[in-house]
């Protein structure tokens, strides 16, 4: 399988589309997560303090941008939304093979289909790891710059917290990547897989449970705990929330981190198994 993995790495390293996507994501992490937020908090528009708790201003929220909160800030911002980019990576890695017809080239070289598939999934996880490490790296750098600009002294969380957070983000993003990979395998193309994947990530689960919440929160939450976005949220929330003066914190997550890790792992295994089964049994007709 090592040759298959090496071959897939050879491809992704040379594929501009993957790195444009990664660059875009990291750019957005800096821009949305820190640069724009910092500007708004530093130069608040007139009347922006209305609706805030008494005695607080927008600049009080800047604490969320400081190094001490980088893990919480990163996971709360990108725990779900960042998954969308991982989903696109997963779709691109697999779906393009069908689009270009290279799937037949791939499966007529040396190894069986499953070996090639697992080599590809392993290479995809490397890209996901690069995204996750890149995300924490740019967020850490951004938070350090913000503290520097504000002349504040703030220290980064301990290394083990960082490592756990990277592990959590890796699991969340891996789910999304494998989900995209599975969709591309099912539909044997990229366009439909990306469309459906984005629809699920941004609309379906959130919308359905949002609407159902009106019927009875307890029952809905007990069902929702088995779905991937909910578990991504539980896992992100397990790292705590940024404490803002005068602002009431979010309620504790419905399920704990262990539940979230198990569920996300099961989803990773399920979509990997689905892709493997389809790859092994289905005809290659493109």
């Amino acid at each position: 399988m090592y040759a298959a993995f090496r071959g897939e790495l050879f491809k992704v390293v040379r594929r501009p589309g993957i790195w444009v996507l990664v660059g875009l994501f990291l750019g957005l992490a800096i821009l949305i997560g820190y640069a724009i937020t910092y500007l708004i908090y530093t130069f608040p528009p007139a009347g922006s303090n209305q609706g805030l708790p008494p005695g607080t201003t927008l600049s009080d929220f800047k604490v969320a941008l400081y190094p001490e909160n980088v893990v919480k800030q990163t996971l709360s911002q990108w725990g779900v939304l960042g998954g969308v980019f991982a989903l696109i990576v997963g779709v691109l890695v697999q779906g393009s093979e069908y689009g270009w017809g290279t799937i037949k080239t791939l499966y007529t070289q040396r190894y069986g289909r499953l070996t090639m598939l697992f080599g590809k999934i392993a290479a995809m996880f490397v890209v996901v790891l690069v995204i996750v490490i890149g995300l924490f790296a740019v967020d850490a750098a951004s938070s350090w710059i913000v503290a520097l600009l504000d002349g504040k002294t703030s220290s980064f969380p301990a290394a083990d917290v960082f490592l756990k957070a990277i592990g959590a983000a890796l699991l969340i993003f891996s789910f999304w990547a494998v989900f995209g990979f599975g969709l591309a395998t099912v539909f044997r193309q990229s366009a439909l897989a990306i469309g459906l994947g984005l629809a699920y990530a941004l609309v379906i689960e959130l919308l359905i449970f949002g609407l159902l919440a009106g019927l009875g929160g307890g029952i809905v939450k007990s069902i929702q705990q088995w779905f991937p976005i909910a578990n991504s949220s539980y896992l992100s929330a397990a790292f705590g929330q940024v404490r803002l003066r005068g602002v009431q914190g979010q309620p504790a997550p419905y399920a704990d981190a262990t539940h979230a890790v198990v569920m996300l792992l099961l989803y990773v295994i399920a979509f990997t198994t689905l892709s493997a089964w389809l790859t092994r049994t289905r005809d290659v007709t493109s």
Partner: protein
Amino acid sequence: MIDTSVRRPPAASLRGDKVVETHGLSKVYGKTITAVDRLDLAVYRGEVYGFLGPNGAGKTTTIRMLLGLINPTSGSASVMGAAPGTPASLIKVGAIVETPAFYPYMSGHDNLRLLAIYCGVPMTRVDETLQLVELTPRAKHKFSTYSLGMKQRLGIAAALLKEPDLLILDEPTNGLDPQGMADVRNLIIELGKGQRTVLISSHLLSEVELMCTRVGVIKKGKIVAEGTIDELRGAATLTVRGTPADLAQTVLVRDVGPENVTALGDGSFSLKVDAQRTAEINQHLVQAGVAVTELHMDERSLEDIFMELTGTEGGL
């Protein structure tokens, strides 16, 4: 690779072991579309085997089954002694299936390097094969900028990369200009020498005629004829016209036997006879006092045979 005055290699006098073998191989799509119908095929080591058939006859479906890309509905196949699509089979097989497919964002060179990684062959093979198909000057350019002919050449280079014992080429001259076709034809003949086996599907009959030692004709998923080109052609006929006709007939019957002479009317006769006897027959006719006005050998072309067998002009 430039000499265009090629002739097909002689048929192997002794058949080696079977490198491709199918028994009752069938592929049915849905419940009604039978793409390949109980196909029994045998390709022997060292052959250049031509797989002929009109569009939609089942050539590509068969090739896909031989490479393990699609699963047969029933029947069995063995390629290089192993089940199609298994590592034991794939490592010995180089293939082009329809249009060669590569990664458009990588150069031809990088595409071959990638395949070399997959196949575990030394990187030196990449430059060798690129040189063989005369793609070296464009090797560092992106695949997406290649012409159809260059893509086809890269496909052949990829098929040769692992120095396979068996080459399976599906329409390898598609998209090539006449010079390119001649180059590929010569290359295939070269490759087919020795112990390497080539299975080539094509609808270009003249190509197959020049390259192949044995041919199988497929129609609606079934092999309708198989043999060497000469076997498929059958005996050549000699047409003779002479006057007086009755004297000519007497001489011809005496020379080749009544069962081999057919009167065509108008003083013409068709003779089933070895081409080497043409001069001798002419001499006998003249010595007997027959004025010979026409004398020529008629050899059926592969195109005639193909149209007879398939009832179509196919891709001609």
